[in-house]
């Protein structure tokens, strides 16, 4: 019964995933595609035509927008990846993967928007760094006219993306290292005279990369389509394509929806094209790498590169921490003018009034976060348990489905999905937001949970079965308690992903479900950094609390059972 039951369970989960996740994305893409070819009965446009594409090409700055998108997306991903691989080469022998993981995980918790708002203040010509060195070192009584934030080349956006993605790449790299016999390979390499850094670069990194390829594509797709961070840090005239398109979708002239849909399809093509380009570069680098290896030279320069990456990575972490600190300091400032390093007067004014908005936003954010995380966790456990009971191998094709929402750019299907949701009569409510966010939360929860789940010591389950425990009891009395830590970690990641969602909340909630993220992004276009600081601080604090809970709850529950950490290895 269990085997058939397992198949049935996984079939059910697959059906839920198909209906709840793949189908809405496909339907959303279809509606956007139809609009891109001139079919949107709502605004009285029917039929297939190339007119939206012609109009898209006529929109000012669209070519620059596409170039900027490719440049910022590819550059930020490449820089973050290289720094992570280099820094990991320096760090992995000095820190245990677990200690490093604990330092890095909270960084993942910080939503993009909050980091961007803080970073903008730290680096802008009137920002914290400039204030710290003015006027005594620079002679600036007034901030200089320098293009640092919103610079036309998108460097500030690249910096923000690198700071945000670097910890993620470091974490997946460390996780991948656990699967590789690093120690013995390093020893073998050194035995034949290669410096450790060169062994790292030519032997370990290719093996790591093969394992983290998919997360790299996820980051690349994200960086190419990011909206909130690009609004705050990116170029403005013209902006990257995702921002320009969001503006066209929301422009008063509803006729712009058609070229905007064409832009959404272009965005999807850009992502596909960029991934293809990346794959090409992978192949080239592999060929070059093998050619260099065949020369057999022992080079010490690689050690310097690894040290430099670690140094740069550390600097970026400090910049990230400063950004978060800036948010908090602003939230308690009253008057704070240039070039003062600290506020002239402090006030708890914006904290003292939860009724002015942040109370409701915290509540909504928490409710949506808990609901999506619970939904995603139940689905992921059911999927994995179905595999276990059915004795099924992990299905790669099914896992690829999970990545779908992460690879397809959000903007490309969200407008269409909104039309679909409306037709089903589910828009404008917290339910629609929970569903839409779950599309993005489930993949992360699934990815975070599947490896620890599959690494569970099967002997424990056999022992339980031998003692007469049925499948349900094995699940609830053995697996789930042992896996408490990875379960809570997955939940914390899911919660953080939910908190950070901007576009799905905006589109599906009909704007009527204010969350910390939507409010923080809205307020960042206002003049009151103190209120923005309050929202952004809260926005970072909620996921941080979730991670803290994921860390301390198992520590407390298992305080007498050290071996039950639930981690593999």
């Amino acid at each position: 019964m269990t085997r058939a039951g397992g198949r049935w369970l996984r079939g059910l989960v697959l059906a839920v995933v198909m209906l709840g996740l793949v189908l809405p994305i496909a339907a959303g893409l279809w509606e956007t595609l139809a609009a891109a070819f001139g079919h949107l009965p709502a605004i009285g446009e029917t039929g297939a035509s190339l007119d939206p594409w012609r109009r898209l090409l006529d929109l000012p700055g669209v070519v620059t927008s596409v170039k900027l998108t490719l440049w910022t997306g590819l550059a930020s991903t490449a820089i973050a990846l290289l720094l992570a691989l280099g820094a990991a080469g320096w760090a992995h022998r000095r820190f245990g993967p677990r200690a490093l993981g604990r330092v890095l995980t909270p960084f993942l918790a910080v939503p993009h928007a909050a980091l961007a708002i803080g970073l903008a203040f730290v680096i802008m010509p009137s920002g914290w760094i400039a204030r710290a060195i003015s006027p005594w070192a620079t002679g600036w009584d007034l901030p200089p006219d320098l293009a640092i934030v919103n610079d036309p080349a998108g460097l500030a956006l690249i910096l923000g993306l690198v700071i945000k993605e670097l910890p993620f790449f470091l974490l997946v790299t460390l996780a991948a290292l656990a699967q590789i016999p690093v120690g013995s390979q390093m020893r073998a390499g050194r035995a034949i005279g290669y410096p450790p850094a060169q062994v790292w670069a030519f032997v370990i990194v290719p093996q790591v990369y093969a394992q983290i390829r998919l997360p790299v594509y996820v980051v690349l797709s994200f960086a190419l389509s990011v909206v909130d961070m690009a609004i705050i840090l990116g170029p403005s005239n013209p902006p990257v394509l995702a921002v320009a398109m969001t503006r066209w979708f929301l422009a008063p002239d509803s006729g712009l929806i058609l070229p905007a849909s064409a832009a959404a399809m272009t965005q999807a093509l850009i992502v596909v094209g960029a991934i293809a380009l990346w794959r090409g570069a992978e192949a080239l680098i592999a060929v070059a790498g093998r050619a260099i290896l065949r020369q057999g030279r022992r080079r010490h320069a690689w050690a310097g590169a690894a040290r430099a990456s670690a140094g740069i990575a550390a600097t970026l972490f400090v910049l990230g921490l400063l950004s978060l600190a800036a948010l908090t300091v602003w939230s308690i400032a009253w008057r704070w003018s240039f070039p003062d390093m600290w506020p002239e007067t402090l006030s708890l004014h914006s904290w003292a009034r939860p009724g002015a908005g942040w109370g409701l936003a915290v509540l909504n954010t928490a409710v949506i976060g808990f609901a999506t995380t619970a939904l995603a966790l139940v689905l992921a456990v059911a999927w994995l348990e179905g595999e276990d009971r059915g004795g099924l191998a992990r299905a790669r094709w099914a896992e690829a489905l999970v990545y779908l929402p992460l690879i397809v750019p959000q903007v490309a299907f969200l407008f269409g999905l909104q039309v679909v949701f409306l037709r089903l009569g589910v828009s404008g409510g917290i339910g629609a937001v929970i569903w839409a966010q779950a599309l993005f939360v489930f993949p992360y929860v699934m990815i975070a949970l599947s490896d620890p789940w599959r690494a569970l010591d099967r002997r424990l389950l056999r022992a339980a079965a031998a003692l007469g425990a049925g499948p349900a009891r094995r699940l609830f009395a053995v697996k789930l308690p042992i896996l408490l830590r990875p379960l809570l970690t997955a939940a914390a990641i899911g919660f953080a992903v939910s908190v950070a969602q901007y576009l799905p909340t905006l589109f599906m909630g009909a704007g009527r479900v204010p969350t910390l993220t939507t409010e923080a992004v809205t307020l960042s276009s206002g003049s009151d950094r103190r209120v923005t600081g309050t929202y952004a601080t809260l926005q970072s604090a909620l996921p941080f609390l979730a991670y803290a809970a994921a860390f301390f709850i198992p520590a407390w529950v298992f305080r007498h059972r050290r071996a039950l950490s639930g981690e593999p290895g």
Binding site: D145, N237, R247, P252, S254, R335, G511, R512, T522, V531
Partner: protein
């Protein structure tokens, strides 16, 4: 004999005021939550809406839930999406803070409920005669499809500690900016404040002001706007960051004025500088002022989408916003500081006294300092100027 006369008198008294249908509206509104879609970037406005919610809840049992928009067009897009999906009833948008292009777009597509303004008892305080500020929105006839709630007027704001003699016309502004390169900018032209700045310049510079009250045509656009572009081509290289990039909106530019990044900012609200000082967002020395030849002014409205779920509640809120007491509260610089939309001639003594009793501030210009109010050009000018600007200056 007496009774019919009395009845007739009562009817005569009741009918023109529409008291009975209004009572029905008020009764139907009780218990409704009005989703008011309003730009959320201004904390003062948000606070005012929260205050209004408390008031209408106490008086009519109606609550307001503000839907904070980054851009009013988001609400328009939502109504369009709802119409697309065939959701002609129980829509999610009950009321929109709207004017200009968004209003024109919704009115043309039949997305608005109404006409409803004359059904509001407090519309008796408005000057709705043809051509009056409350009956025309960017030259588009309102025709009862949107109800006024706040008055806006273009002002420049300078820090008097850094600029003694602020430029008083667009020509002076150009000279000032040449003498002080990098110390002036304007919000992005995709933002209404940025395009308002260009319109203000256009009104001052164009030889043909009358043409601006008619829709722009391809035939006259180049001739009417040529002096504007000549002026702007000279101005742009002297702007902050060489005119390559612009603050997203006026709030961001206000922050830049506070940081000392620029010396002059602008607003569509004469009281904004006084209020910002009050809130610690601008130095004490900031001053708002009007230009010598006058500045553009317009009225902000609220409109109700055709498919709104809570039309009655929205009408009660629109009516509440026109109460003399509400307008006086809004004009308080400690609250919103936006000037009243009501016609002073139609107010009683007691109602006018509430306005006289309001506090004042050195940063708040007097009506004389503000200069005359210039009427908005037809919205097609704004659209075409924004497009032409984007074509000329976006690479």
């Amino acid at each position: 004999m007496r009774l019919p006369i009395l009845t007739a008198l009562l009817l005569a008294a009741a009918l023109p005021l529409g008291a009975e249908p209004w009572d029905d509206t008020v009764a139907a509104a009780r218990g409704q939550t009005v989703y008011w879609n309003a730009w959320g970037g201004d904390e003062r406005t948000n606070d005012f809406i929260a205050w209004a919610s408390d008031q209408v809840e106490a008086q009519y049992g109606v609550t307001i839930q503000q839907v904070k928009l980054t851009d009013t067009a988001e609400a328009v897009a939502r109504v369009i999406a709802e119409k697309a999906a065939g959701q002609d009833e129980a829509g999610t948008v009950d009321m929109i803070w709207i004017n200009g292009g968004n209003f024109l777009s919704m009115k043309e597509q039949g997305l608005l409920h109404g006409p409803f303004v004359t059904d509001l008892p407090n519309s008796r305080y408005l000057d709705l005669s043809p051509g009056s500020a409350a009956s025309v929105d960017f030259t588009v006839p309102v025709e009862g499809y949107e109800s006024p709630w706040r008055l806006a007027k273009f002002v420049l704001i300078h820090d008097s500690a850094r600029v003694d003699q602020p430029p008083m016309s667009m020509a002076e502004l150009l000279n000032w900016s040449k003498a002080n390169p990098g110390r002036f900018t304007h919000p992005a032209v995709s933002n209404f404040m940025g395009s308002t700045f260009l319109k203000q310049a256009l009104i001052e510079l164009t030889p043909d002001v009358a043409a601006l009250q008619e829709p722009a045509t391809d035939a006259n656009f180049d001739a009417v706007t040529a002096p504007l572009w000549a002026w702007y081509d000279e101005l742009r290289p002297t702007l902050w960051r060489g005119g390559e990039t612009f603050p997203e909106n006026a709030s961001v530019q206000e922050q830049m004025l506070n940081d000392g990044v620029v010396d002059i900012s602008m607003a569509f609200d004469p009281a904004s500088a006084a209020a910002a000082i009050e809130k610690g967002l601008l130095p004490e020395t900031a001053r708002a002022y009007g230009l010598r030849g006058g500045t553009i002014g317009n009225i902000s409205f609220v409109a109700i989408p055709y498919n709104a779920a809570h039309k009655e509640g929205a009408m009660v809120v629109a009516n509440f916003l026109l109460e003399p007491a509400t307008q006086a509260h809004a004009q308080d610089i400690g609250v919103l500081g936006s000037f009243s939309v009501l016609d002073p001639a139609r107010l009683g003594e007691a109602e006018r006294a509430a306005f006289y009793a309001l506090p004042t501030s050195p940063a708040l210009p007097t009506l004389e300092e503000l200069g005359p109010t210039l009427i908005e050009p037809h919205p097609s000018w704004m659209t075409m100027i924004a497009d032409a600007w984007a074509k000329r200056y976006t690479q």
